[in-house]
């Protein structure tokens, strides 16, 4: 069984870390990640850029692009894609294509990544 572990924290605190604080936190997390990787249990690891860099695409018959992160609370996080894009326009284009195919209402938040480590092959992955 694969699990996603989603990270929530105060972004003004985390993004204001000094280089030393950042390095210390990353070193502590790195130790755990290395252990998981050695056990063949670690898939992709990603760190998102701050919500200020986000855009939101409202799905539905008339798609609507809004500046800023997804802010509603009546919908829940159901999944995510990691897509390689040359720029924001291409990312939005990709999101529009997925939105049209999904056929539901709801929204996509489009947010660039700060860090991405693809990780190795994980046993639970074959099951899909």
């Amino acid at each position: 069984m694969l699990y996603a572990i989603l990270c929530y924290d105060s972004e003004d605190v985390v993004w204001a870390w000094t280089k030393e604080e950042e390095a210390a936190a990353m070193a502590r997390l790195g130790t755990v990640q290395e252990k998981l990787a050695a056990q063949g249990r670690l898939g992709p690891v990603a760190r998102l850029l701050p919500t200020t860099s986000a855009m939101t695409l409202r799905k539905g018959r008339e798609q609507l692009v809004i500046d800023g992160p997804f802010a509603e609370t009546k919908e829940q996080l159901l999944g995510f894609y990691i897509v390689d894009c040359t720029d924001l326009e291409q990312a939005l284009e990709t999101a529009r294509e997925l939105a049209a195919a999904s056929g539901t209402a709801g929204a996509f938040e489009i947010r660039p990544l700060a860090i991405f480590r693809p990780g190795g092959q994980v046993k639970g992955m074959e099951g899909g």
């Binding site: 993004w15 204001a16 919500t51 200020t52 924001l88 660039p112």
Partner: protein, 416 residues
């Protein structure tokens, strides 16, 4: 991160919103600051025991208001200080308030707080320290070091600035759209100036590193503005500009502290996360099709950031962007910068032709003589180049700038 470090970071991050809300409540800067200080002390005492509240900002505002009201009563009756337990039910302090407060509720409070700091009654030398003290909560001793003055002198400068503000009529009514846009423009300029104070710092001593920290404070303020005004393209542009410039900091000075020009920097040292954020923001801004000076400058910085090697820089596009900036914000410094792009696209002679008429207005400006010297050298006019570099050295504001020009003079000596 230890509990204490987390709490301190949370207090710094809550400060602009909390002090802004308290200022609206008390209509007095000193009272607002003292009340926030009080609440911070209580947070340091309560949070490690009870855990941090769900909404630290709302908690701090509520506790600060209660503490200030109790303080007033105390002074009135000269009664002993009430126990914390009796003050209010601290655990529940944030819950009703937190439901009502989101980013937009703080928008005008934070904007007012920042706007007061760039009040026209204040000089620039007062505005920046005041903003750093009140909005960012930087200790006076660090501000004093950054501006190379004694702590007492800086304390006095800030106190005087506050007195001037208290004497002026403060804008407490909710601003209209035009008023809000005007305030946002003034505040954006101040954030940019704070950044420049930090960005221009060079060297490895304590004062230089305190000064360099101002660039980080400015980025923090820009991100704050952007969260409060998420659809303002010029605030996206400002934030992008600061991030894209700050990203180069690790590559800007050599081991001896001399300036390394953009083209000679080790681009591997540039901060990729800052660049990614800056590029995403400028892409977002451009979608609004409302170009303005910060966006244009950010777009120029983005073209440098996108070039993996200096030869890949899109100079013709940079030339066009500087031309646009010249139209929006005519200034000899912008023309000087454009001349650098022109030297790449149309050669040193064309660039020199553009630079020479600026001599009257930029005769005291270090980069003017530096660029002129470099162009003359490229054209083989060695004696004139030497005299331009000589002028530049005389005008250098920092050792790093002087050291940079000296390397030019050394090269000239080798050439001739």
């Amino acid at each position: 991160m230890t509990d204490l470090a987390w709490i301190e970071a949370a207090l710094v991050s809550a400060r602009p919103k909390a002090v802004g809300a308290l200022l609206r409540h008390f209509r007095d800067l000193d009272t607002a600051e003292e009340a926030f200080q009080d609440a911070s002390l209580r947070a340091l005492k309560h949070w490690p025991v009870n855990g941090p509240p769900r909404d630290p900002t709302a908690w701090l505002i509520m506790v600060a208001r209660n503490a200030a009201i109790d303080g007033k009563r105390r002074r009135a009756r000269e009664a002993p200080l009430p126990e914390d337990e009796r003050l209010s039910d601290l655990e529940d302090a944030e819950s009703p308030l937190a439901e009502r407060l989101d980013e937009s509720d703080y928008r005008d409070d934070v904007l007012r707080l920042l706007f007061i700091c760039c009040h026209p009654a204040l000089t620039l030398a007062q505005q920046i320290p005041l903003a750093l003290r009140i909005v960012s909560g930087v200790p006076v001793r660090e501000i004093a070091r950054a501006f190379l003055v004694g702590e007492a002198a800086m304390e006095q400068r800030i106190t005087r600035a506050k007195a001037r503000i208290a004497a002026a009529a403060l804008p407490f009514e909710t601003p209209g759209a035009a008023e809000r846009a005007e305030r946002l423009g003034a505040v954006a300029t101040m954030v940019y100036l704070i950044f420049n104070e930090g960005y221009s710092a060079a060297g490895h001593d304590r004062a230089a590193s305190d000064r360099a920290a101002l660039a980080g404070e400015a980025i923090r303020l820009a991100r704050l503005l952007l969260r409060l005004f998420p659809t303002e393209p010029e605030i996206m542009g400002l934030t992008a500009l600061l991030l894209l410039q700050q990203a180069r900091t690790p590559a800007r000075f050599d081991a001896g502290g001399a300036v390394i020009l953009l083209e000679e920097q080790d681009r591997g040292l540039w901060n990729r996360a800052m660049i990614a954020e800056g590029l995403a923001l400028i892409d977002k801004a451009m979608r609004h099709r409302a170009p303005a000076p910060y966006q244009v400058q950010a777009a120029i910085a983005a073209l440098h950031a996108r070039a993996a090697r200096p030869e890949e820089t899109d100079w013709p596009q940079i030339d066009r962007l500087y031309a646009a900036l010249e139209r929006m914000q005519p200034s000899p410094v912008v023309t000087l910068n454009r001349a650098v792009a022109v030297s790449k696209t149309r050669g040193a002679a064309a660039a020199l032709e553009m630079v020479e008429p600026l001599g009257d207005r930029l005769s005291g400006y270090f980069p003017f003589h530096g660029l002129k010297g470099a162009l003359l050298r490229e054209l083989g006019r060695i004696d004139e180049a030497r005299s331009a570099f000589g002028r530049a050295i005389a005008l250098a504001g920092t050792l790093a700038e002087a050291a940079h020009i000296r390397t030019h003079l050394d090269r000239l000596a080798k050439d001739s």
